[in-house]
């Protein structure tokens, strides 16, 4: 197994879970599936369409997102936005992320605590 392969595996593991958080944060503004996919990719989150769309449905099922069909444009689209529960979860996860980031920085700088 060459280095690139190991790297992509490691990145995948590291990024798993950040997509959920990124979705919740992005959907503080209402958005629909494809636009969200585009936006995530621009931000450097590598996520497949066939992962993202079922994920949105799951988050909705868990009450973290709310959805609504927008029929005012040429084609109907399902718009998602974050729910109060989603706000709470994203705040907690973001705080967790910040803690881990701080810990990793300290480790990287040689401070073994």
């Amino acid at each position: 197994m060459d280095f690139d392969e190991i790297l992509s595996g490691g990145q995948q593991e590291l990024r798993r879970g950040t997509v959920v958080l990124a979705c919740l944060l992005l959907l503080r503004e209402p958005g629909y599936g494809y636009a969200l996919l585009d936006r995530l990719r621009e931000l450097g989150f590598t996520v497949d369409a066939n992962t993202l769309y079922p994920l949105l449905r799951r988050l909705e099922g868990q009450g973290l997102l709310a959805s609504e069909w927008n029929t005012q444009e040429a084609r109907p689209r399902k718009f998602y936005r974050i729910s109060p529960d989603g706000e709470r979860l994203s705040a907690a996860l973001l705080a967790d992320w910040a803690r881990m980031d701080a810990s990793l920085r300290r480790l990287a700088e040689g401070d073994m605590g």
Partner: protein, 324 residues
């Protein structure tokens, strides 16, 4: 004409639980349309559609993620097939076994209605449990040994791999004509065998049916034949089986079988003179055995016909559900 998108949507929806389908269909169509729009700059609308589908990827993988099932015994690769086949097999096998055992108990001298029903239900329950168990075991083994009805090609998925959306079966004119002709043939045969008295034993010819029964049976069968013909014509005009047709078919089947079975049980169907002559010739209760077998065959044929009607209606409803 079905588009690639229709085929894609169908391929995803067939593999998700029924209650999710109605919700998912507009969602997936919107996603494909959005993606196609984003790829619109790349060439023809068809090319954009293809690119959108490639982006969404293998419909089975998408469906498995949507379904989000925790399947430990049978994985998402085999689960849809397991569900499909079991739903098809159980409603056919269980009633046939139940009715056959019930009929056998009845003819074997189980005169009490309660014992006949108990034997019938017991056998139906047993065969249902056994069938489900062994069937599931085979799938669980297949899941773990990696053998699959869908061979993994190792090739990346492309829209060309999409299955075609099956069209609901259109009944042919031939089938309608055949069932009308069959109804008329049966009626003519009944009348002929009674009035032309072709049954000859020791030089005496006999009518087949008990004259007392015949006085009303003829009119009953004639009316039933007319109804069967109307049914066949109606079915042809509708073009395919629906639940309503399956129910009417069941009623017609029972309307035929119930009086005939009752008459056989009461020894009131066949001309008693013919029974006496035949038994004297065979030196035993030859006619009783023959009529028991006849009753069993009628019960089985009518059961199969009724179940087949519901199976066709079920298949039609299934084919119509995913594509709306």
């Amino acid at each position: 004409m079905t588009t690639l998108t229709d085929r894609y949507v169908w391929a995803v929806l067939r593999a998700v639980p029924g209650r999710q389908r109605a919700e998912l269909e507009p969602e997936i169509r919107a996603l494909v349309a959005d993606a196609a729009e984003a790829h619109a700059g790349t060439g023809t609308p068809e090319a954009a559609e293809r690119a959108a589908l490639v982006e969404l990827g293998d419909p089975d993988a998408l469906a498995a993620r949507y379904a989000d099932k925790t399947l430990f015994l049978i994985g998402p690769r085999l689960y849809p097939e397991w569900e499909r086949l079991l739903k098809l097999l159980l409603p056919i096998v269980v009633p046939i076994v139940g009715i056959t055992v019930g009929a056998a108990t009845w003819m074997g001298g189980g005169t009490q209605v309660g014992s006949v029903i108990a034997a019938s239900l017991g056998a139906a329950f047993n065969v249902g449990v056994q069938l489900a168990f062994w069937f599931t075991l085979v799938f669980a083994i297949a899941e773990r040994t990696g053998s699959s009805a869908v061979p993994a090609t190792g090739q990346p998925w492309t829209p060309d791999d999409l299955p075609h959306v099956p069209q609901p079966d259109r009944l042919s004119l031939g089938e309608a004509v055949a069932s009308v002709a069959f109804g008329v043939f049966v009626l003519v045969a009944i009348v002929w065998v009674q009035l032309a008295t072709p049954i000859v034993i020791e030089g005496t010819s006999y009518a087949l049916f008990d004259p007392a029964t015949w006085s009303w049976l003829l009119w009953y069968m004639a009316a039933l034949t007319v109804l069967e013909i109307l049914f066949a014509v109606g079915l042809y005009l509708r073009g395919r089986w629906t639940w309503a047709f399956a129910v009417v078919n069941a009623i017609l089947g029972l309307a035929f079988a119930a009086p005939v079975l009752w008459l056989i049980n009461e020894d009131a169907l066949v001309n008693p003179e013919l029974v006496a002559a035949a038994n004297a010739l065979a030196n035993g209760n030859w006619f009783g055995v023959t009529m028991s077998i006849t009753a069993l065959v009628i019960a089985i044929i009518v059961t199969i016909d009724i179940v087949d009607g519901f199976r066709k209606a079920w298949r039609t409803s299934r084919q119509e559900a995913p594509t709306g």
